[in-house]
């Protein structure tokens, strides 16, 4: 398992939160808690999204039309708000991932150039 970063470093990199949230909704609709858990699991417990960051982000994404939300019942018979990726959300996510990969490649190129 990856080493857990300290609190400061584990806070989501500026500007990548939206991408991570949208990505976690790509497979299926999920509630807020599920999104937190999924991001934590997929990142091997390196990234954790606090509730104080997640819900404002979800509400913002909904206002932008990238996700929609509706009440549903969980398998334990509790009512929870489920978030679903919209078509616009999918398109936005694809673009974001593309931009991110381009940026990542650029940064790596610089770092490797410095090594050699």
């Amino acid at each position: 398992m990856a080493e857990r970063l300290d609190k400061e470093a584990a806070s989501i990199l500026q500007g990548t939160l939206d991408m991570l949230v949208l990505r976690s909704l790509q497979l299926e609709p999920m509630h807020g808690w599920g999104i937190t858990e999924r991001i934590e699991q997929w990142s091997e417990e390196v990234l954790c999204v606090g509730q104080g960051t997640l819900y404002p982000a979800l509400y913002r994404l909904e206002r932008q039309g990238l996700v929609t939300s509706a009440w549903r019942t969980t398998e334990n018979n509790r009512r929870a708000r489920y978030y679903t990726l919209t078509a616009a959300g999918r398109k936005h996510l694809t673009q974001e991932i593309k931009d991110w990969e381009r940026m990542l490649r650029a940064i790596n190129l610089v770092l490797q150039a410095a090594k050699g």
Binding site: W33, Q51, G52, A80
Partner: protein
Amino acid sequence: MATREDRLQEELRFHLDQQVAKNLRQGMSPDEARRSALVKFGGVETFALGIGAAVAMFSVFEGVLLRPLALPEPDRVVRLFQIMVGVMPDGFDYPVGNAMWIPREQTPPQTGRSAHNFQVIGRLADGVPLARAQAELSALLRQLKTVHGDNTRMVDAAVLPLLEIMTGASRPTLQLLLAASLLLLLAACTNVSNLLMVRAGARRSECAVQLAMGATAGRLGRQLLAEPLVVCLAGAALGIAAATTAVRLFVAMGPSIVRRLDEVSVNGTALLFALSVSVLAALALSLVTAAGARSVRITDALSESTRSGTGSRRQIRAREGLIVTQVARRSCCCPARRYSAAASTQ
């Protein structure tokens, strides 16, 4: 139809319950599971971070910009800048490392009229405003210029308060950093407010019963204030401890644009600042919570399931305000960081 406030509250409560359930699965006792979930939800800890940053920045701000110089009647100490014909010299280096100043009278009189490299520091006569000193000096120097003509190159001089000369350059950076740290504190308040809202929601019917039994608004208000106050004061205590370390580090790093750093510490004024900010935050948070609780009609509160109920418009405003602040912080801190980085390389 449920309001946005109710929706957020239910989502947050679900989130908290899921965290408790997860803790239970990991083998914690029910009490421990709940306590740990609340801690993770962010209360004392988050507030401590916010107030710590604010206190640290305030200490630097106060020590550098607000505290008077360690001289008797520091307001009266001024520095004279000679203004010559042609290009103005690029700022006189303040005498760093000088152990003492000696009065001009102790040195033999200088009769040369072209020695413009002296730095003059003076004390205004009692009751003389800066503007009058400036006017008198300007008049005197103009007169000297007419008398001596080409034998002197100085035509005028500027009089500026010494404090301004020493710290003027770092003022905008420090102001910006202080503002950024206050925004961080506001963001921490959003987290605490979410926590309090979840708890207050669960306690709505308890409040309604107390009101029905004849509890006064004041009695209920005290009860609502107690919890935020405990969270904020505990947060402040942790935050002050963090700030003390942060300030020591900041002083040790000694950014070169900030003068007077050696005088900076988390002192009584900073503690007073922390205390007042914490109490203010607690008051504001309890008002946000209370605004919702007070508007609840007893019959509603007693018959409601956890999901329905009425949220007060004021409460929604207040909470939206906090969320807006958080977004503002995100968009603000980034340029602020860039700016201060740019400023410190100058």
